[in-house]
């Protein structure tokens, strides 16, 4: 019996992988984006093993070395002789850690609020929650960021909190709209008749049906989060040294940009690559989940 169940789940897994590969084959743009992001994740996880040098080890003798001149330091060194390649690899780790956590928090919060709000429509809970969403969306975002940073400092939890705060509201509004339509459907009434609890309806029935609608937005927000995180670090409002962020590397390079422009240029190009990869993934998902866009 147990073996049979195992077999069935393995078959299911195989199916899942098969359909994923089929999806990749149909969407070359998605595949490119996915492969790039996979590489980024691997780099982030195995930063210690991949980086050729200690990213904080300085050696002023070889400061500001040009890229591609020394095989030991392929991408050159910064103003106190730290290996730029190693720094960028650890920068990816910081960005990935902060931004993924933040977007996961934002989606969780936004989807929960959206489902609660939609299930209670029309009602007081719904009105209150939607006004909160209105305020959050009407608030000049960057002002909020600067105020929160002055309040909580630039610790990792604070940065995650403010990134999450800047992305949750549109999810809530979007999900609420879908739930309002979805909860009038027959399968929800059927579930209610069968005595499903509110929580069960919210998670098992509504949750499953509304989630695909916001899935394509997640990669887009992830790319926006990476840009904002690096921007804050660049302006000295984000990850602080000795922490390493792609923004920090650019910020360090800023003072030497007239003579050593590549320090700033390379980290920026890395962010552009990540952002493009995420946009490609988001576009493919969007096309996949929005039947109107199918040809």
């Amino acid at each position: 019996m147990a073996a049979k169940v195992k077999e069935a789940s393995a078959a299911k897994k195989g199916n899942w992988l098969k359909s994923f590969l089929k999806f990749c084959k149909k969407n070359p743009a998605f595949t490119i984006g996915f492969v790039i992001m996979l590489a980024i994740v691997i780099i982030a996880v195995f930063a210690e093993q991949i980086a050729p040098h200690d990213p904080t080890l300085n050696n002023p003798k070889i400061a500001l070395m040009k890229p591609f001149t020394d095989p030991e330091y392929i991408l050159g060194t910064d103003y106190i002789g730290r290996c730029l390649l190693s720094r960028m690899i650890f920068g990816i780790r910081t960005s990935a850690l902060l931004c993924v956590t933040a977007v996961v928090c934002a989606v969780t919060l936004g989807v929960s609020v959206g489902i609660i709000s939609g299930m209670n429509y029309p009602g007081k809970t719904d009105s209150v929650l939607m006004r909160v969403v209105d305020v959050q969306m009407g608030f000049p975002f960057i002002v909020l960021v600067i105020i929160l940073i002055s309040l909580f400092g630039t610790t990792h939890p604070a940065l995650i909190l403010l990134l999450a705060l800047s992305f949750w509201a549109p999810y809530a509004r979007n999900i609420r709209g879908t739930v309002m339509v979805e909860k009038e459907m027959d399968y929800i009434s059927a579930a209610k008749l069968m005595g499903a609890s509110k929580l069960r309806i919210a998670t098992r029935y509504l949750g499953r049906n509304v989630l695909p609608g916001v899935l394509p937005v997640v990669p887009m927000d992830l790319s926006a989060a990476i840009v904002i995180e690096s921007l804050l670090a660049y302006m000295g409002l984000g990850v602080q040294p000795p922490g390493i962020s792609l923004g920090n590397i650019m910020g360090d390079g800023k003072n030497y940009i007239a003579t050593h422009w590549w320090i700033t240029a390379m980290s920026g190009i890395l962010i552009v690559i990540m952002a493009i990869a995420l946009t490609l993934i988001g576009d493919a998902l969007h096309k996949h989940f929005d039947p109107k866009l199918k040809d």
Binding site: F139, L151, G268
Partner: protein, 300 residues
């Protein structure tokens, strides 16, 4: 009405958050002055009153048209804003219309010549300009165009040529967003029955395209423009900071960092109000653009 409530809520949040930031604004104005001077200043600034008294006073003064006094700029907040809004307005005035024109033009081209080389190039460029971090583009443009080539000034604001580089940085990603949106919506709109029906009736191709398909994407396009305004405010702040461009964004950043309460509040209220007014105007313009909405609302 609802808009007004949101402005007030935004103001309350700003008001409370600002006062939670550690540090004494009176002390930071006075510098190394003696304790009596600082105490006097605190009294003048109203910092000794309980927070709700400060808030009520502030609201009362707003309705009198008085946004308070900035102790750092040594001027009324209204005057400070009046002195810096022009630079931002010139920048947005260059960036937004150019982005809309470019977005519409290239979006239309890409959708008309779907899957051709034009479509591919436009789509790729749109993704590219959208993916570049704006501060990085700003730094690179300053380095290349202003420092190396010396075509345009790198910072400050003494004439319209100073606004060109900031406007490019602000407008490029917007043009990308707009072009992608126009393309997708046009492709959807051209598939719809009204476009097919027009074609079947023998309406000329160009008329079908502009009068039927294009006309139907104007409402979602306008919604998009409205929703991008919030992002533009944030981008202005960043771009002005990097270019040292003396507009509202630079004022906000400095004001928050200096804990210049009244200036921050004044600017936040102003921005939230502009945001809501523009979105209301957009809501109203739907009535002009789409007869179906006009009918649903009971006529114009």
């Amino acid at each position: 009405m609802q808009g007004l409530l949101v402005v007030i809520a935004v103001l309350v949040v700003t008001f409370v958050l600002l006062r939670l930031i550690p540090g004494d604004p009176a002390r930071s104005v006075a510098g190394n002055a003696s304790e009596e001077v600082v105490e006097q200043l605190r009294e003048d600034m109203g910092l000794n009153d309980p927070i709700y008294v400060q808030f009520v006073d502030y609201i009362k003064n707003i309705f009198k048209g008085d946004l308070g006094y900035s102790y750092f700029c040594k001027d009324e907040v209204g005057n400070v804003i009046a002195g810096s809004y022009k630079a931002t307005l010139v920048m947005i005035g260059l960036a937004l219309p150019s982005a809309i024109i470019l977005g519409l033009l290239f979006g239309l081209l890409a959708s008309i010549f779907k899957d051709s080389i034009i479509d591919r190039v436009v789509s790729a460029c749109a993704v590219l300009v959208q993916s570049m971090p704006n501060y990085w583009v700003a730094v690179m443009l300053i380095q290349i165009v202003a420092v190396k080539l010396r075509w345009l000034p790198a910072s400050g604001f003494k004439g319209i040529e100073y606004a060109i580089l900031p406007a490019i940085v602000l407008g490029l990603p917007l043009a990308g967003v707009f072009a992608r949106n126009v393309r997708v919506n046009m492709l959807g709109s051209m598939q719809q029955n009204f476009s097919k029906a027009a074609k079947a009736r023998g309406v000329p191709y160009f008329t079908t395209l502009i009068g039927y398909s294009f006309r139907n994407i104007l409402v979602p396009f306008l919604t998009l423009v409205g929703s991008q305004l919030g992002f533009m405010v944030g981008n202005c702040l960043v771009i002005e900071n990097i270019f040292g461009y003396p507009g509202l964004g630079l004022q906000i950043l400095n004001a928050i960092l200096r804990r210049d309460y009244y200036l921050v509040q004044g600017l936040v209220v102003l921005l939230a109000a502009i945001f809501i007014i523009i979105n209301t105007i957009i809501d109203i313009s739907y009535l002009y653009l789409d007869p179906r909405i006009r009918k649903a609302q009971g006529g114009l």
